[in-house]
């Protein structure tokens, strides 16, 4: 094993050490995370390692194997050109499998009027794109991948890592955000075309501020515009499916999630354009108590 390079990153409440056999993905990360604070060496929660798939592949057509404190055996190696994606996937994996201080929901979140809007759904629902768009239109970005639900206070803590734009969302955001906020475009990754976007500055400087959740949406892109009420049982089941650590948290997870379902109004939202979604969200938001 050759020398490993590393950088430290703090995103919301979580501190990461990213170690890599190559400089390139770390230089890209350091550039994109340049406005984020660096944690001390002793404060790291997780380590992510980007290593050669095989020792001899460090230089010959290198491919990146993602390792870390927590890992999945079937994580396929990625080409070095997608090393940045590997680092981001590695950080997500550590959070999903290892974080215990909050209930983790696969959800994006944005904030306005001191309250949080949480959007959850399957891949392709548009939750990430919606959060990125709303963040350019008067909402504060809190996160596009995980909403961290406080076990005791029921608040949402921001986890504003890089926004992972996929396919058509890349072009849409390029019309809205300055060029220096984008990472390299990675074509034909296992997740499609990917380009990372740095969240607005305020999302980073105020990433320690939690917010009370005021509205939960289950967006679904590509279906005729509609808002639907949902039963609490359906909401609860879908949120347990959206959580990566509900089972691991045991009773404290049960108490946090039941309180969330009791207190936060929820709707299923079908939409066909960002403008439509924004109109539906503004309508719901203006009627909140």
């Amino acid at each position: 094993m050759g020398k490993m390079h590393h950088i430290l990153l703090k995103i919301g409440p979580a501190a990461f050490r990213i170690a890599s056999a190559w400089r390139q993905p770390l230089d890209q990360l350091a550039g994109l995370y340049r406005h984020y604070p660096a944690p001390g060496e002793g404060q790291v929660d997780f380590t992510v390692r980007l290593e050669p798939d095989k020792p001899w592949r460090r230089h010959i057509r290198p491919s990146v194997h993602i390792g870390g404190d927590f890992w999945l055996p079937d994580a396929a190696p990625l080409p070095l050109a997608q090393g940045l994606l590997a680092a981001e996937m590695g950080m997500n994996l550590q959070m999903a499998l290892g974080w215990r201080r909050h209930l983790l929901l696969h959800a994006s979140s944005v904030k306005k009027d001191g309250k949080a809007l949480v959007m959850t759904g399957l891949s392709g629902s548009g939750k990430s794109t919606l959060s990125a768009m709303l963040a350019e239109r008067g909402w504060r970005f809190m996160g596009d991948e995980f909403a961290l639900l406080g076990l005791d206070d029921g608040k949402i803590s921001p986890f504003p890592r890089l926004i992972s734009l996929k396919n058509q969302a890349i072009g849409a955001m390029q019309n809205l955000a300055a060029d220096d906020r984008f990472g390299p475009e990675m074509k034909a990754t296992p997740k499609g075309d990917i380009r990372h976007l740095v969240p607005p500055q305020e999302a980073v400087t105020r990433m320690e501020e939690s917010a009370t959740p005021a509205l939960l949406l289950f967006p679904r892109f590509g279906h005729a515009r509609e808002l639907r009420e949902m039963g609490q049982a359906e909401i609860f089941v879908r949120l347990t499916q959206a959580s990566t650590n509900y089972v691991a948290l045991g009773e404290s997870g049960f108490r946090a999630l039941t309180r969330f379902v009791d207190r936060v109004p929820a709707r299923a939202m079908d939409y066909q354009s960002i403008e439509q979604a924004e109109e539906l969200i503004d309508g719901l938001w203006s009627k909140l108590p």
Binding site: G231, Q232, A233, F236, V237, T240, V247, G250, E251, F254, R255, T258, V261
Partner: protein
């Protein structure tokens, strides 16, 4: 000998209402169950006693509007067996 059933101790169970359903968190297993009628009512009438299915039906009939005759006993027995497989009810020799 009549098969009797006893509900898991109340301190092992956390209940939560969800519209028409009830959530039940079982502390010893850490598993969350979603129960529809009549399962929550069965727990309500069992309290901590060891009861036969016929006794449970008698208590249910006294508290709730249950159709007389028919297959009530079969239904309650089937639910009790399901709940015992989940570890929420235990089978006690009569």
């Amino acid at each position: 000998m009549t098969q009797k059933y006893r509900a898991a101790p109340a301190e092992d169970l956390i209940w939560h209402d969800l519209d028409s359903m009830k959530l039940l968190y079982h502390r010893p297993s850490g598993i969350t169950h979603i129960l529809a009628d009549p399962a929550p009512a069965i727990f309500e009438v069992m309290e901590e006693a060891a009861l036969a299915a016929t006794e449970i039906i008698a208590r249910l009939t006294a508290l709730f509007d249950i159709e007389s005759g028919g297959d009530a006993e079969e239904i309650i027995l089937a639910r009790l067996e399901e709940l015992s497989l989940l570890g929420l009810v235990s089978r006690v020799p009569g």
